[in-house]
């Protein structure tokens, strides 16, 4: 007891400093994951919320039902669609723009940094309102622009495949900025002397890019790919506010499926099971990335 008291006195301040953070994260991040796991094996719904005695264990049946649920299967397909198109698009564009922005140091380049970053800080609802109007079938700007080229008006958000692509375009516009900044920060960290040495050896612009810049961006690329990948697997807000998963569940993502089941239909147990499937997919994707990632380049 005395030992404990002296330990406390000695380390009181660091414990006090971390206490709020540890308590809050435990209550709102660690405990929830345990609860989620537990209720994913129950039939918890609104009745269970009112009176815990209504909750019954159902074993694995939530998980089994998920894989019989056509909407869930569709949401997996759609999520894969988003990931396979969205991730390469965002990473390539972010890198390309970062390289362009790193080309010069004048005010022009500095101002365009802001322009490309701006969509990243906008509010998703505001974005949905503005893009919804741009995509409008009758009064929207996009269809008007198509008409310049004699192209027919498109139903941007009503056609099942086009709706997915429309959401990707919006999310792409919003995601470039942050990733571009990460690449730009990495580019500015590459020592000038590497390029000077290469120039003495007669290396051209393309070869410098291929043999110095790209390899030295290894860690940044890895970081961007991982975060973008995880982000697209959890693709959620854009379909929620733009299409609510429609038309005919064509834009329904896994995360939106979980949200709908949890908060619209109050099937907490079923939604929790869905969230664990999502979690496992994220873990697998992340592990695969770590495996693919080659030896980190030091400089």
């Amino acid at each position: 007891m005395k030992h404990l008291a002296s330990q406390w006195n000695k380390h009181k301040y660091p414990y006090l400093f971390i206490a709020p953070a540890v308590v809050l994260l435990t209550v709102f991040s660690i405990i929830p994951i345990v609860i989620a796991l537990v209720i994913s094996f129950t039939n918890m719904d609104l009745m269970g919320l009112a009176d815990y005695s209504n909750i019954k264990g159902v074993g694995l049946s939530n998980y089994i039902n998920l894989f019989k649920d056509p909407v869930f299967l569709k949401s997996i397909y759609n999520t894969a669609f988003y990931v396979f198109i969205g991730v390469p698009l965002v990473v390539a564009a972010a890198l390309g723009i970062a390289l362009l922005l790193n080309y010069g140091t004048s005010w022009l380049f500095k101002s365009f940094r802001v322009v490309y970053y701006m969509p990243s800080i906008t509010n998703i609802v505001a974005v949905a309102v503005v893009w919804g109007y741009l995509y409008n079938g009758t009064y929207g700007l996009f269809n008007y622009i198509l008409s310049w080229f004699g192209l027919p008006a498109q139903q941007w958000l009503q056609d099942p495949t086009l709706a997915k692509l429309s959401l990707i375009l919006l999310a792409f516009w919003k995601a470039i900025g942050l990733n571009m900044i990460i690449f730009l920060a990495a580019l500015q960290g590459i020592p000038r002397s590497y390029y000077e040495a290469a120039e003495i050896d007669g290396a051209t612009g393309w070869r410098k890019l291929r043999y110095i810049t790209i390899p030295l961006l290894g860690f940044a690329t890895f970081f961007v790919v991982i975060t973008t990948l995880i982000g697209w697997i959890q693709f959620f807000e854009e379909p929620l506010v733009m299409t609510k998963g429609g038309p005919l569940n064509a834009t329904m993502s896994m995360a939106l499926f979980i949200y709908n089941n949890g908060f619209q239909l109050s099937n907490f147990g079923y939604a929790a099971a869905g969230s664990f499937v999502l979690f496992i997919i994220i873990i697998l994707a992340t592990l695969a990335q770590f495996k693919i990632q080659k030896q980190e380049v030091e400089y």
């Binding site: 971390i18 209550v27 362009l100």
Partner: protein, 272 residues
């Protein structure tokens, strides 16, 4: 040299074209927010309104409760700044103190970064419900008050502060809290600048959690109010555009003022 100049012009051209394309939604939003209702159905659409009006902005406050939403949003911003200080304190303890269980606590915190929001969303709602905090400001604010990423960033920066500085302050008899607020906070001001802006943007934009927890219109944030507007006044483009502009423009102005800090913040945070 001529080739080099040609190359540069080409790069600038690409940059400008891409930049203009990125700006289209913003230009469209600002222009449309000043259009009178009858100008929305004109073909070809106008980018700059022929008869600009402030009515849309006025209606946000007269027809709708945007003033209340603004107040709620600002309250959330204020609380999130308090949360930022909690992050900073935790980061400081992890950077500059040795205590039993330090690594275990730190890994516990880092581990929370990997948990997707969808998994914790429902249980967190159940916990908030159990605590009788549904439909309260506390229920909206508490779950997101601290974050692992913020703690991580603060720890990274604070570990570079020389220990001698702290020892000197302790010898002078300063208390630990005083050392934190009067010594550490000023020293790591740049980090607070970056984190402060990011915290502000995050809180200002917060949408999903307030949507889930607030059922009462008196607790709506700007983005929840705007989504309501989108549903109920779906055909009133002017009102919607003004609402969107009201949310986006302040953030952009703040960002333009502080953008140098954000970009440098990423550079010094060691993501290279």
């Amino acid at each position: 040299m001529a080739v080099k100049r040609l190359e540069k012009s080409f790069m600038v051209l690409l940059l400008v074209i891409g930049g203009v394309l990125m700006m289209v939604p913003f230009i469209w939003m600002i222009g449309s927010s000043f259009k009178p209702e009858n100008e929305f159905t004109i073909i070809p659409p106008t980018i700059i309104p022929h008869h600009p009006t402030f009515d849309n902005y006025r209606n946000l406050f007269i027809k709708l409760e945007f003033l209340t939403y603004l107040e709620n949003t600002l309250v959330i911003v204020l609380f999130s700044f308090a949360g930022m200080f909690l992050n900073a304190m935790a980061g400081y303890a992890f950077a500059k103190f040795d205590f039993p269980g330090k690594n275990k606590f730190y890994y516990l915190i880092l581990a929370t970064m990997m948990i997707p929001g969808q998994v914790t969303m429902i249980p967190t709602y159940l916990i908030i419900n159990k605590l009788n905090l549904v439909n309260t400001m506390a229920g909206i604010v508490l779950p997101g008050l601290v974050g692992a990423f913020g703690i991580f960033l603060f720890r990274q920066f604070m570990s570079t502060i020389p220990i001698d500085l702290l020892e000197a302050a302790r010898l002078d008899g300063a208390g630990e809290l005083r050392i934190f607020f009067q010594l550490i906070v000023p020293v790591v001001k740049p980090v607070f600048a970056v984190q402060g802006i990011l915290t502000f943007i995050g809180a200002w934009n917060s949408f999903l959690w307030p949507l889930i927890i607030a059922n009462d219109e008196r607790l709506y944030t700007l983005s929840v109010g705007l989504s309501l507007l989108k549903g109920q006044y779906g055909t009133e483009f002017g009102l919607q555009m003004a609402g969107a502009a009201f949310m986006v423009v302040p953030i952009i102005i703040i960002f333009i003022f502080f953008q140098k800090h954000i970009i440098e913040g990423y550079t010094i945070s060691g993501i290279k």
